[in-house]
């Protein structure tokens, strides 16, 4: 008898749990935040997650959206495309409405078919490889620029300001790094002599061999398509093999960590990144709120914050959590971001052309006028 009653109790408890579960599903809207949160590039993923978390917290303070609380789920893709796919599958199973992510281009590209098939809106705050939005997927967007724009800006700057005769091009073999390096190369080819083109291994601590080989070709500047841990080691070792030419590189290097890894060797490096938004009042309030909670915002925190706000505003406007409806609304609308107004073209790219050149000077990034 005792046994039987405990069985009833267990069944009852299980039933309650199931009811609780479905009830919770209806009560909560889930937003995923995906990026590298462990490993080399962990700072970027954590910056991204904090930006999303801040936006979600602000909406929840105002009572959530559609009368429901919003819950953020973090997914760590370790900057690895295979992990990114498993995170995408996890998000699909967890019934998320939309995702802010991923950070790395190869992660975003590999995860995007899963989001598209499951009708989940995914807005990347940082993946700049053009292919991401050229796959014909309706639910995939980005709030940053693309590498063809970025490579073009870098090439223009190099040809107009540095006026080199010979350049070397180096990349980290990733979708982002090699893609960006190729766009740069394409933009300068025929106008400047490209005397060296090769890739490096990302986990390798020693780049002296390849740098010595570059130095041998006597270029006047070198371009690097890659991310800050490698860029920091490269400029540092470049000085040691006696290379005194500037490095030009992309948004993956725009982070103070680059300067702390490279130290004085970082001085004189040119980096393409978005315009300095700190003059905007909305950016100021974002920075204050972010700092109060997490410390100094990372370069992509504000992009992640804007992406999350676009998603939540669309849910509110359409009154729906259906991915296709949201995607249609996002592609047609214009959204007030902390970083200025955002609207999208037919592919899902932002319509503003956002790149300017920054210079590392006295241990800080300074916008070139």
């Amino acid at each position: 008898m005792v046994q039987r009653s405990s069985v009833y109790l267990a069944v009852l408890a299980a039933a309650c749990l199931m009811i609780g579960c479905t009830a919770q599903d209806q009560k909560v809207i889930r937003i995923g935040a995906a990026g590298p949160m462990t490993g080399d590039q962990s700072k970027m993923g954590i910056d991204l997650r904090n930006g999303v978390e801040l936006a979600v917290a602000e909406w929840n303070e105002k009572g959530g959206v559609l009368g429901k609380k919003i819950e953020m789920l973090a997914g760590d893709d370790q900057a690895d495309p295979k992990q990114a796919v498993s995170i995408a599958n996890k998000f699909v199973n967890q019934n998320v409405t939309a995702v802010v992510g991923h950070w790395n281009s190869n992660c975003s590209i590999n995860a995007s078919p899963y989001y598209n098939t499951a009708h989940i809106v995914a807005i990347s705050p940082a993946s700049t490889n053009p292919r991401l939005t050229q796959q014909g997927f309706k639910t995939i967007f980005r709030v940053c620029g693309t590498d063809d724009q970025q490579g073009g800006v870098a090439a223009d700057f190099v040809m107009k300001t540095l006026k080199p005769k010979r350049v070397a091009v180096l990349h980290d073999k990733t979708t982002y790094g090699q893609g960006l390096a190729d766009f740069f190369k394409k933009a300068v080819e025929g106008k400047v002599q490209v005397v060296f083109y090769d890739g490096i291994q990302t986990k390798d601590p020693d780049y002296k061999a390849v740098l010595t080989a570059i130095n041998e070709k006597k270029p006047d500047a070198y371009f690097f398509g890659g991310v800050y841990p490698e860029a920091g080691r490269l400029v540092r070792q470049a000085k040691e093999v006696g290379m005194n030419i500037p490095m030009i590189t992309g948004d993956g290097v725009y982070d103070p960590t680059f300067i702390s890894i490279a130290g004085k060797a970082a001085e004189g490096t040119y980096v393409t990144f978005g315009k300095d938004p700190s003059g905007l009042p909305t950016t100021k309030t974002f920075n204050e709120r972010y700092r109060a909670k997490y410390g100094e915002p990372g370069p992509y925190s504000i992009y992640a914050y804007d992406a999350a706000n676009i998603i939540l505003a669309s849910i509110k406007d359409t009154g729906s959590t259906d991915g296709l409806k949201l995607a249609e609304h996002i592609s047609k609308g214009s959204f007030p971001g902390a970083f200025g107004d955002i609207s999208f073209d037919k592919n899902g790219d932002v319509t503003r052309a956002p790149y300017v050149v920054w210079l590392v000077k006295n241990g800080k990034f300074e916008e070139m006028k």
């Binding site: 462990t38 490993g39 080399d40 962990s42 700072k43 073999k173 090769d198 890739g199 490096i200 291994q201 986990k203 390798d204 601590p205 020693d206 780049y207 002296k208 061999a209 390849v210 010595t212 080989a213 130095n215 041998e216 841990p229 920091g232 080691r233 540092r236 070792q237 000085k239 040691e240 093999v241 006696g242 960590t257 702390s260 890894i261 130290g263 004085k264 060797a265």
Partner: protein, 300 residues
């Protein structure tokens, strides 16, 4: 460029050689591949950056640079030697008479534990140190041997000569050689096997610590995962030279450093790692016991 790459290769190779010695010495005695050895090297590098950081904040690295480098190496060596002996006591000694695979699995486990301990204690980020030594050094035939490269080469050669003398000229060194030839017999003639094995781990770990500090000076960045790749490369160097052979590990280390540098500069740096392993495969096909390894005779 040839001379510059030769210098780069020798500096990198001497780091590999120092780590490879630890693998080969342990293998020579226990026939165990100590997969946690790369992590000891990583610990050495972390200690290097911590001690140098403290000395820099006290202003000692500017006023007494050679002395502070010596202190850093000594502290790191002592710490890692203790770590090496502790790893052997905890992870390998209880399994000494177990099946051959058990200590190997234990080694892999130890490696993962150490990586994660350092990750939790020191963080996932790169730790970096500003350059302490000038990048100018000695001009050699149109190339520049930087002061760090000279220090790395000098220290490594000193360590290797010291090790060779220790092994061939001292009582303990003789005991080590005896133990590696036949552990049971050495025990029967009164050699304290446990002590010899502990000392072997301590020396190997101490050398890895030196390599760690040198790399900290050379690249200025440390990371909790750095021991994995370096350990794999050094293990390759040990196998290339003939695992179990001390001169072989030195030769293998230098050979690997040079192959990587010349391959990366004259062919393509995309395949830098591939060159090392390609040469390893070819060497093992032609000489299965490595460059200086002895033909394995099965003990009957």
């Amino acid at each position: 460029m040839f001379i510059q790459q030769l210098i780069n290769g020798l500096a990198l190779g001497s780091v590999y050689a120092l780590i490879a010695l630890g693998y080969t010495m342990v293998y020579g005695i226990l026939q165990l591949i100590n997969f946690a050895h790369g992590e000891v090297y990583m610990l050495g590098a972390y200690l290097g950056i911590i001690v140098l950081g403290i000395l820099t904040s006290l202003g000692l690295t500017t006023s007494h640079l050679p002395l502070s480098l010596f202190v850093t190496v000594a502290v790191s060596m002592a710490f890692c030697a203790a770590y090496g002996a502790a790893i052997e006591r905890v992870a390998y000694r209880p399994l000494r008479h177990a099946a051959k695979l058990s200590p190997l699995i234990s080694a892999v486990g130890m490696s993962i534990v150490l990586q994660n301990v350092v990750m939790l204690a020191q963080g996932k980020e790169y730790k970096n140190l500003p350059p302490l030594l000038p990048s100018e050094g000695i001009a050699v035939g149109g190339a520049n041997a930087s002061s760090v490269q000279i220090i790395i080469l000098g220290t490594s050669l000193l360590m290797m000569v010291g090790l060779q003398l220790f092994i061939t000229r001292t009582r303990l060194g003789k005991a080590m050689r005896a133990t590696s030839q036949d552990m049971t017999m050495a025990g029967l003639v009164g050699i304290n096997i446990n002590r010899v094995i502990s000392v072997t781990f301590m020396i190997g770990s101490g050398l890895a610590a030196v390599a760690g500090v040198m790399v900290t000076l050379y690249y200025g960045v440390v990371h909790f995962f750095m021991g994995y790749t370096a350990g794999l490369k050094a293990f390759t160097a040990a196998v290339l030279g003939g695992i179990g052979s001390i001169p072989g590990a030195m030769l293998g280390g230098f050979a690997l450093g040079l192959i990587e540098n010349f391959g990366a500069s004259y062919i393509s740096s995309v395949y830098k790692d591939a060159f090392a392993f390609l040469v390893l495969i070819i060497t093992l096909l032609l000489r299965p016991s490595g460059l200086l390894g002895q033909k394995a005779v099965d003990k009957v």
